[in-house]
C-alpha cells in the first residue's frame, strides 16, 4: 500500500461521500419523476437537456465511487492513468461509433427505404 504511512480513520470522508452520492441520486430520481417540460423539450447536440443532466450526474457519482471508495486518489499517477484513461478513451470511442451508426440506421428506416411496420 502506498498510503500506509498513516492509519487514522477515513470514516468522516466516507460518510461525506455517502451523503453526496445519496443527494445526487435523490436529485436524479426527483428529476426523473417530475421531468420538467423545459428540460425534456430542449435539445443540446441532439440529446435532451434532461439526459445530459442525468449523464453528467452519473459521471460525477462514478468519480466519487472510484476516487473515494476505490481509493483511486491514493494510487500512483501511473496506475490511475492506465485504468481511467484506457477505459475513458475506449468507451467514448465505442459510444460515439455505435450511437452514430444507430442514428443512421434509424434514418434509413424512418425514410421508408426499409419497412419495419407492416
Amino acid at each position: 500500500m502506498a498510503h500506509d504511512t498513516a492509519h487514522e480513520s477515513n470514516s468522516k470522508r466516507i460518510w461525506t461521500v455517502f451523503i453526496i452520492l445519496s443527494a445526487i441520486t435523490l436529485v436524479e430520481v426527483i428529476l426523473g419523476i417530475i421531468k420538467p417540460d423545459f428540460l425534456v423539450h430542449t435539445y443540446f447536440i441532439s440529446l435532451k437537456l434532461l439526459n445530459w443532466i442525468f449523464i453528467i450526474l452519473t459521471i460525477w457519482k462514478a468519480y466519487y465511487i472510484t476516487w473515494a471508495f476505490m481509493h483511486m486518489e491514493g494510487e500512483t499517477k501511473g496506475l490511475r492513468r492506465s485504468v481511467v484513461w484506457t477505459a475513458g478513451f475506449l468507451i467514448v470511442y465505442l459510444v460515439f461509433i455505435l450511437l452514430t451508426e444507430g442514428d443512421y440506421v434509424h434514418e434509413v428506416m424512418n425514410r421508408g427505404h426499409v419497412a419495419w411496420d407492416f
Binding site: 500500500m1 502506498a2 500506509d4 492509519h7 480513520s9 477515513n10 470514516s11 466516507i14 460518510w15 455517502f18 452520492l21 445519496s22 441520486t25 436524479e28 430520481v29 426523473g32 419523476i33 425534456v40 423539450h41 439526459n51 442525468f54 449523464i55 450526474l57 452519473t58 457519482k61 462514478a62 465511487i65 472510484t66 473515494a68 471508495f69 476505490m70 481509493h71 494510487e75 500512483t76 501511473g78 496506475l79 492506465s82 485504468v83 484506457t86 477505459a87 475506449l90 468507451i91 465505442l94 459510444v95 455505435l98 450511437l99 451508426e101 444507430g102 442514428d103 440506421v105 434509424h106 428506416m109 424512418n110 419497412a115 419495419w116 411496420d117 407492416f118
Partner: protein
C-alpha cells in the same frame, strides 16, 4: 503486500525484479486491470443498448410505464421508486464495504467482521429486489397484441389509461390443446397458450366501444400514439396475429423485443456480478472470522474484494441511468 521475490543476484538493477513502480501489490493491480476489462464489457452492453435505442428512437418503450411496481402497492403507479430504493441499498452496502476496508487498515477485526456482514446482507437484499423486479417484468401487467410485423399493440380506454387484456376479453371454448411432452412429440413442448386467442380479443374489443389501440410509435412530445376507434379496429383486423402477456427473449408486451433482451442481459449480467461478489464477500468474511488476515498482518484481501464490490456498485449507477432514467 510482499509478493514472492526470487533472488536473482540482480537486485537493485532496473530489471532485477522486486520493483513496484505502481506501488501496489500484484494482486491489487491485477484486480484493477480485471475491473478495467470488465468495465469495457459492460460498456459494450450499454453502448449496444444505446445503438438499439437510437435505431428505434421513435418507438422505444417508456421505462416509467414498465417499471412502476412497488412492494405492497398494488395497482399504484410508482415509477422509479423501487429502483431508486435498490440504488440506495447498493450504495449503502458500498459504504459498509469501504468502512470494512478502513477498519482493516487499523487492524480492528471485530469492526471488519461487522461491516463485512452488513455488506453481505446489503448484497443479498439487492439480489432479492432484482429477482422481484424480474418477476414483475416477466409476468407483465396488461398484456398486448402482437402484429405481423413483430410489433405490439396495447389497449387503452378513452382517457388514455392502460387496460389489461384479461379485463375485457371473454374467451370462447377452444379445441386447441396445450402441446406437452406427454401428448405429442416427446422432445418438443411449447409455451403456455393464453386463455384467449386473437379472435377472442378482436371480438371483445369490438364489443367494448370505449377501447382504443395504442401503438409503439412515439409522438414529438414523447408520448405513445393512440389511434381513433376506426383506426384501432382496422389495425386489429389487419395485423393482429397473437397475444403476448409478460416478457421473454422473443417478444414482450412492452414493445420492441430488444428492450426485454437488453434488460435481461444487462441487469442479469450485473446481477451475476452481485451474486459472485456476495459469494467472494462470504469467503472473505469467514477468513476474517478465522483470523487469517490477523495472522497475515494485513487486511489487503478485504481491500481487493472491496474494489470488486465498489465496481459492481459503479456499474449499477450506469445501468440505473441508462435503463431507468434516460
Amino acid at each position: 503486500m510482499e509478493a514472492t521475490v526470487t533472488r536473482t543476484g540482480t537486485e537493485g538493477k532496473t530489471w532485477g525484479g522486486g520493483n513496484e513502480p505502481l506501488r501496489v501489490s500484484y494482486g491489487k493491480m491485477m484486480m484493477w486491470f480485471f475491473i478495467l476489462s470488465d468495465a469495457l464489457t459492460f460498456s459494450g452492453f450499454l453502448a449496444s443498448y444505446g445503438f438499439a435505442r437510437y435505431k428505434f428512437s421513435n418507438s422505444w418503450p417508456i421505462a416509467d410505464e414498465v417499471f412502476n411496481h412497488f412492494p405492497f402497492l398494488h395497482g399504484v403507479d410508482a415509477p422509479m421508486y423501487y429502483v431508486a430504493l435498490m440504488t440506495f441499498i447498493l450504495i449503502f452496502s458500498s459504504v459498509t464495504m469501504v468502512l470494512a476496508v478502513d477498519a482493516g487498515h487499523q487492524m480492528k477485526k471485530a469492526k471488519v467482521t461487522l461491516y463485512m456482514l452488513l455488506t453481505i446482507i446489503g448484497g443479498l437484499i439487492f439480489l432479492g429486489s432484482q429477482a422481484w423486479e424480474w418477476k414483475n417484468f416477466i409476468t407483465g401487467t396488461y398484456g398486448a397484441i402482437q402484429t405481423e410485423g413483430g410489433n405490439i399493440l396495447q389497449v387503452v380506454d378513452d382517457e388514455g389509461h392502460r387496460v389489461a387484456i384479461a379485463d375485457f376479453v371473454t374467451s370462447t371454448p377452444k379445441e386447441r390443446l396445450q402441446h406437452e411432452r406427454s401428448n405429442g412429440l416427446w422432445f418438443v413442448d411449447e409455451p403456455t397458450i393464453p386463455a384467449y386467442d386473437v379472435q377472442d380479443v378482436i371480438n371483445s374489443f369490438e364489443a367494448n366501444s370505449g377501447l382504443l389501440i395504442r401503438t409503439q410509435e412515439l409522438t414529438e412530445r414523447g408520448e405513445k400514439v393512440v389511434l381513433t376507434r376506426q383506426e384501432s379496429l382496422a389495425k386489429l383486423k389487419d395485423e393482429a396475429t397473437g397475444v403476448i402477456e409478460g416478457a421473454n427473449l422473443v417478444s414482450n408486451e412492452y414493445g420492441n423485443p430488444l428492450f426485454a433482451d437488453f434488460f435481461f442481459f444487462i441487469t442479469g449480467f450485473h446481477g451475476f456480478h452481485v451474486f459472485t461478489g456476495v459469494l467472494i464477500n462470504i469467503i472473505i468474511f469467514f477468513n476474517v472470522l478465522l483470523g487469517t488476515y490477523e495472522r497475515r498482518g494485513s487486511y489487503e484481501m478485504v481491500e481487493k474484494v472491496g474494489l470488486y464490490w465498489h465496481f459492481v456498485d459503479l456499474v449499477w449507477v450506469f445501468v440505473f441511468t441508462f435503463f431507468y432514467l434516460v
